[in-house]
């Protein structure tokens, strides 16, 4: 049995019908188009009504930005200063300690040298006499 052009056209018609949108499909598209338009119109009307507020809003935003910059800068500078003082204090403390330790150590050595010298001298003196 040959597949006639008539049969093919009939099958194409069946296929076409199978692609028909449902009422819900059509409604969704209409809603998305009209919804988009409403949104655009709403946006424009709001902007149109309150256009005179634009400079005030701009100034307020500028003030907010400037204030927030200041607020963030001041504590950081203070913190830096505090850190520097703390570091200086720690260094001083450590410095003194190290000096003390060093002098003590030197003293120990000196004392032990003296002792050695004294003992050597006493031995030498004993031999001399």
């Amino acid at each position: 049995m040959t597949y006639t052009e008539e049969q093919l056209e009939k099958d194409l018609a069946i296929y076409k019908e199978s692609l028909t949108p449902s009422h819900a499909d059509e409604q969704r598209v209409i809603m998305s188009i009209t919804g988009k338009k409403e949104q655009m119109t709403k946006g424009r009307s709001i902007a149109g009504k309150f256009w005179f507020l634009a400079p005030i809003v701009g100034m307020a935003l500028l003030l907010i930005v400037l204030t927030s910059q200041k607020a963030t800068k001041a504590p950081s500078a203070l913190a830096q200063e505090t850190d520097e003082i703390v570091i200086a204090l720690i260094n001083d403390e450590l410095g003194e300690q190290s000096i003390t330790d060093e002098s003590d150590a030197d003293l120990d050595i000196i004392m032990s040298d003296d002792e050695q010298l004294a003992s050597f001298t006493s031995v030498y003196d004993a031999n001399e006499y």
Binding site: L8, Y15, K16, P21, I33
Partner: protein, 168 residues
């Protein structure tokens, strides 16, 4: 001057289904067809005042937008191939509600879907515009920027290929 609002509404009523079917057949997905239909009518509405500059009749103008939107979508994304689920969910309308007849029609739809997918691009497009969108040859020629005779020949060659693919 552009398209008057009343003409646009008339166009929407008459063209929504053909545009949707054409997009559905080309992209193979119901949601994608909805997206294309939405783009077509939104663009047509937004540019209705300037539409005469395009030098095409309204129907050809809508299908040109549809065609370009589909090409754009296919370029951006992987070509959408109709899945088995999508094929089985194709709506088969039959007033008799005869299961055997509905099954036969579903089989025919599956064959056409698969055979169309194998056609060369220009032939597939011409057949879809002629038999799925139901456009006259003169409008198809406008959309494809070809002369009417060339479109007729392309469709004729495509139909022959479709018939050759059918195995009883």
């Amino acid at each position: 001057m552009g398209i008057p609002k009343e003409t646009f509404e008339e166009l929407y009523k008459n063209c929504f289904t053909p545009v949707y079917r054409y997009a559905y057949a080309r992209l193979g997905h119901r949601e994608a067809a909805e997206d294309i239909a939405q783009i077509v009518f939104s663009k047509a509405w937004e540019t209705r005042d300037r539409y005469e500059d395009r030098g095409k009749p309204p129907l050809a103008y809508l299908f040109t937008i549809a065609r370009n939107s589909i090409i754009d979508r296919l370029r951006r994304k992987e070509p959408l191939v109709m899945s088995d689920i999508e094929i089985s969910s194709l709506k088969i309308q039959d007033d008799t509600n005869d299961p055997a007849r509905m099954s036969q029609q579903a089989e025919s739809s599956r064959f056409i879907q698969a055979a169309l997918a194998d056609l060369p691009e220009d032939q597939r497009e011409a057949v879809l515009l002629r038999y799925i969108a139901d456009l006259p040859y003169s409008e198809i020629a406008d959309i494809l920027d070809k002369n009417e005779e060339a479109v007729r020949k392309t469709v004729s060659r495509a139909l022959q290929l479709l018939r050759d693919k059918h195995k009883p």
